[in-house]
Symmetry: C3
Subunit: 119 residues, 3 copies
């Protein structure tokens, strides 16, 4: 079976439309979006505000998950990086997972073909 991969992108909510359009252009149509809250390493700031120590705040983020097979993982990652890069803290993170299988319920397709753009 061909390798099936999930690319999970966690980034600023206001970047979603641009990210979706860029992914659509490289042939990535299927995706799942979740509103999440997150904190990254924020350069390890534990913070100290007017003498009060604080731990990093949770910020609203979106998680965009896309499971792919034919489109190369590297192309998805490079596309996301191009759209999401500002060079500022909080640009986001990408996590990559292996997936064991995928099924399209409408027609019973499994594996690679379940990710295709088929009737």
């Amino acid at each position: 079976m061909d390798k099936i991969t999930k690319v999970e992108i966690i980034t600023r909510p206001n970047k979603f439309e641009e990210l979706k359009d860029a992914l659509n252009k490289i042939g990535v149509m299927g995706m799942t979006v979740t509103n999440v809250m997150g904190c990254g390493v924020q350069k390890g700031q534990t913070g100290n505000y007017r003498g009060v120590a604080y731990t990093p705040e949770l910020l609203p983020k979106i998680k965009v998950e896309t499971v792919i097979c034919e489109v190369p993982v590297e192309l998805v990652v490079e596309t996301a990086k191009k759209v999401l890069y500002t060079g500022k803290i909080g640009d986001g993170k990408i996590f990559i997972y292996e997936i064991a299988n995928v099924v399209r319920i409408r027609n019973g397709d499994e594996g690679k073909v379940a990710l295709n753009n088929q009737p």
Copy 2:
């Protein structure tokens, strides 16, 4: 260690109760449900509405995750397919992952037994 698997089902929100009951009947009690937004391949429609091209809209979906060990993956998948199939676009997708381990916090159970129905 026995193989532990996550079955992730993304489908129409109004199908949840029926899906949960069907899973409960085959012995799958533990599950986690998230409200998500999604688009699938939608037969590759990029769309064109009154001359304006559009990309697939995000629709509200639910993500149902269940981590299993004793109940066979195939039975969970077949059960979900039976409940969720309409033959129309958007019936949903099932993603299958391997899980490295599971812990029940209340009693420290790990692995297969942490998924059992035990005191």
Copy 3:
């Protein structure tokens, strides 16, 4: 490449602050939090309330995901168990996954270093 692991903790929402502080103290700063609904095995109760059978109710839970490399998985699990344990039903569950790779968008870091606390 060093092994990258996701620890996913599903527990009571009101435990979040305490859990985050405990994780921060062992050097785990990055995390993603999702509001979910869940049911566990609940000792297999199918339930019967005034003669009406019911299936386990969904309860509001939080899902805390943290992807780690240098901090040992066992330490994260022990820390979560210490904070979340009450001995009562519903203390929560921990799922452990292997991750294939991680990318920090701001500077292109990949793998282990993308999880570090770096400028």
